[in-house]
């Protein structure tokens, strides 16, 4: 055979230190860059809320139902609150819930996916049966049912409830990837060398599915933003906290539509959509990085 002895880059295991190397190519992807920019914008708004917010969002001292003006850029609610201030303070809750649910879900998915893949056998079968059952159940209905039993819920509880329905996707995908890696030489070698299961999972398997884990994280964030907003829109969770979802709840409850108060329900919806789109864009960016065929180029 003539083939030059080319270095087989793809089969070389990725080490822990290379986690960070994923970030740089990601930022070179236009979609991912846009997503990261939107996310950072909202992050800053959330952090600087006390400085940015013109008024206290709870104050009900202004003229009710006023359309946007110089004093109130986004108008006021029926009970006389400044909507811009509510929007700014309301950035915090969706971000906290998204990141919280993203983190919790990813932890569970990684734990279940990798252990099921590595251990195999009955353990794997039982875990996958549970995973598949949770996967098939209608997520939002389960979330609504659980939330309806809770009289009020803080951000952590909402994140937890969302996690109940969001972990199975990641667990399945990561298990499949673990099985795939298990058949690779460098993992086989580590198994033969008697490396501890724990070490194996953290030093051989996990570093080689960075992009899958990241993709799962951002997908969950998107899901959590939309789900949390839906819950609050239904009056579940805690509608007395200031958040985009609760602004929408009160807008809908006060018939904002029927009095033509578009400034009341358009901004929170746009903000939710934009934050969701940011997570979706980052996710698409990761997809394009891992599946080069999706990029536009010749073979």
């Amino acid at each position: 055979m003539i083939d030059a002895p080319s270095a087989s880059v793809s089969s070389r295991p990725r080490r822990v230190g290379q986690w960070l190397l994923v970030v740089r190519p990601l930022l070179r992807n236009a979609k991912a860059r846009t997503g990261v920019a939107i996310f950072l914008f909202f992050g800053l708004v959330a952090l600087l809320a006390p400085i940015l917010s013109p008024y206290n969002p709870h104050l009900t001292i202004f003229a009710p139902g006023a359309s946007p003006s110089a004093a109130h850029w986004l108008g006021t609610t029926q009970s006389g609150q400044d909507i811009l201030s509510q929007m700014i303070w309301g950035t915090r809750q969706p971000l906290e819930i998204a990141l919280g649910a993203g983190l919790l879900t990813t932890l569970i998915a990684v734990g279940i996916g990798i252990s099921a893949g590595l251990f195999g056998g009955v353990y794997d079968e039982i875990l996958m049966l549970i995973t598949n059952i949770f996967l098939i159940l209608p997520g939002l209905v389960v979330v609504i049912v659980i939330s309806s039993y809770l009289s009020s819920a803080n951000n952590l509880m909402i994140s937890l409830v969302i996690t109940v329905t969001s972990w199975p996707w990641g667990a399945r995908v990561l298990r499949a990837q673990t099985l795939n890696l298990k058949s690779k030489d460098f993992v086989k070698a580590a198994i033969v060398a008697g490396e501890m299961r724990f070490r194996l999972a953290f030093f051989e398997v996990l570093p080689n599915m960075t992009s899958l884990v990241a993709s799962n994280f951002f997908f969950t964030c998107l899901y959590a933003v939309v789900t949390a907003a839906s819950l609050q829109f239904l009056g579940l969770g805690n509608i007395n906290t200031v958040s985009w979802g609760s602004i929408l709840y009160w807008a809908n409850n006060s018939q904002a539509l029927m009095i033509g108060a578009w400034w009341w329900f358009v901004p929170p919806g746009l903000a939710i959509g934009l934050l969701g789109a940011a997570f979706a864009l980052i996710n698409f960016g990761i997809d394009e990085l891992t599946n080069p065929r999706l990029r536009r180029e010749a073979k």
Binding site: K31, L129, N132, I133, L135, I136, L137, P138, G139, L140, V141, V142, I144, V145, I146, S148, Y149, L150, S151, T165, W169, V173, A176, L222, V226, T227, A229, S230, F233, L234, G235, L236, L248, N252, L257, M258, G260, W262, F265, V266, P268, G269, I272, G273, L274, L275, G276, A277, F279, A280, L281, F284, D287, N291, R293, L294, R296, K299
Partner: protein, 359 residues
């Protein structure tokens, strides 16, 4: 997300022809596959019932106690007993006895009595709402799936072209926006500002349901906006997924081969690329039913459409726990049944289905 079944292992040599499946209809390995799926759905349904039973008991402070003190005086003893079993208020019976009783009760189709619609049974309340949801969600989902698959396939064929770029950008956003907000916006623009279509309900209040042209037209007019919302918001999901699987499929050797064979563009796009690219989407269809249901629920709530979603909203507002539980069971059952239909389609479209390779 959805794994596509891989062709069976490579066997070399031109030895004996492997046994073939005779006869028409589904071959026996497909039957075995479907049987296994049915078994899985039964287990999943049992798990849902169990979840329904244990959830209220796991919650901090049994939610049903508040309920009993609120409604207790108005209920007849039979309804009280059913609620007691469902929410575990009879402390003198063991948990397992209660669980057994609950299972028996559900098996008999007894989901208890609705508190909001007292004295109607949960079952009858759900049965009245179900046709509206099935009609609205079923129809708009089929339209959305077909349209999305078409758009996705076209985007992939002109991969990187103007149509593709526009659609991809557009769908990134429709995908991320909350259903209910898009529903609200449509309602505001088309229903309120423009006044072209009715704002809420499934038909004009006061109209007597019947098989007359005027009633059917009235129902259709009420259905347009909610249906359009569902199609609009879910279209992107199918289009993006189909586009990505189609791009992968288009570079497969058999598609290149199809072009070399001089097949017509129609044959290549539908019979070769499309037929193969749609398979993961059918599995995906089953998996994303949860999302479809979520979108439908919220859309119904915004449009006060008298289906299961709006019913759930009313139940949540009234803290009608028996009804909430009943809806979870019915929705889970519907999702499982739809999954089975998807499995059936899959085994008809893909000759490679073997046990344990899908799902």
């Amino acid at each position: 997300m959805a794994p596509s079944p891989s062709p069976s292992g490579r066997r070399n040599g031109s030895g004996a022809v492997p046994p073939r499946c005779e006869g028409r209809g589904l071959p026996s390995h497909a039957m075995k596959y479907l049987l296994r799926r049915v078994l899985f759905y039964l287990v999943a349904f049992w798990a849902t019932i169990t979840l329904n039973f244990f959830l209220p008991r796991l919650m901090p402070g049994n939610p049903a106690e508040a309920l009993m003190s609120k409604f207790g005086g108005r209920l007849n003893p039979l309804a009280l007993h059913a609620i007691a079993i469902a929410f575990g208020l009879n402390v003198h019976e063991s948990l397992w006895t209660q669980y057994g009783q609950y299972l028996v009760q559900v098996m008999h189709g007894n989901l208890g009595t609705s508190l909001t619609f007292y004295p109607a049974s949960v079952f009858s309340v759900i049965a009245a709402a179900l046709p509206w949801t099935l009609g609205l969600v079923g129809l708009s989902t089929v339209i959305s799936f077909a349209l999305g698959i078409g758009i996705g396939a076209l985007s992939a064929w002109r991969h990187g072209g103007r149509f593709d770029t526009f659609m991809s950008t557009f769908f990134t956003f429709t995908y991320a926006f909350p259903y209910f907000w898009i529903a609200l916006t449509f309602l505001y623009v088309v229903g309120f500002l423009w006044g072209a279509l009715p704002l809420s309900g499934a038909y004009t209040t006061g109209l007597i349901p019947g098989l007359s042209w005027s009633f059917v037209l009235n129902v259709l007019r009420h259905g347009i906006l909610p249906a359009f919302t569902i199609v609009f918001t879910s279209l992107g999901y199918w289009a993006v997924n189909m586009r990505n699987t189609m791009i992968t499929t288009l570079s497969e050797d058999y598609v290149v081969m199809a072009e070399a064979k001089g097949l017509t563009l129609r044959q290549i796009l539908i019979g070769y690329a499309g037929r193969n690219a749609i398979l993961p989407n059918i599995t995906g269809f089953a998996m994303s039913l949860g999302f479809i249901v979520a979108g439908a629920i919220l859309t119904e709530i915004v449009f006060s459409y008298p289906g299961i979603g709006y019913l759930l909203f009313q139940a949540v507002q009234q803290e009608d726990y028996p009804l909430i539980q009943g809806i979870l069971l019915i929705v889970a059952f519907a999702v499982l049944a739809a999954n089975f239909v998807a499995d059936l389609m899959y085994s008809l479209l893909d000759p490679r289905v073997t046990i344990g390779e899908s799902q």
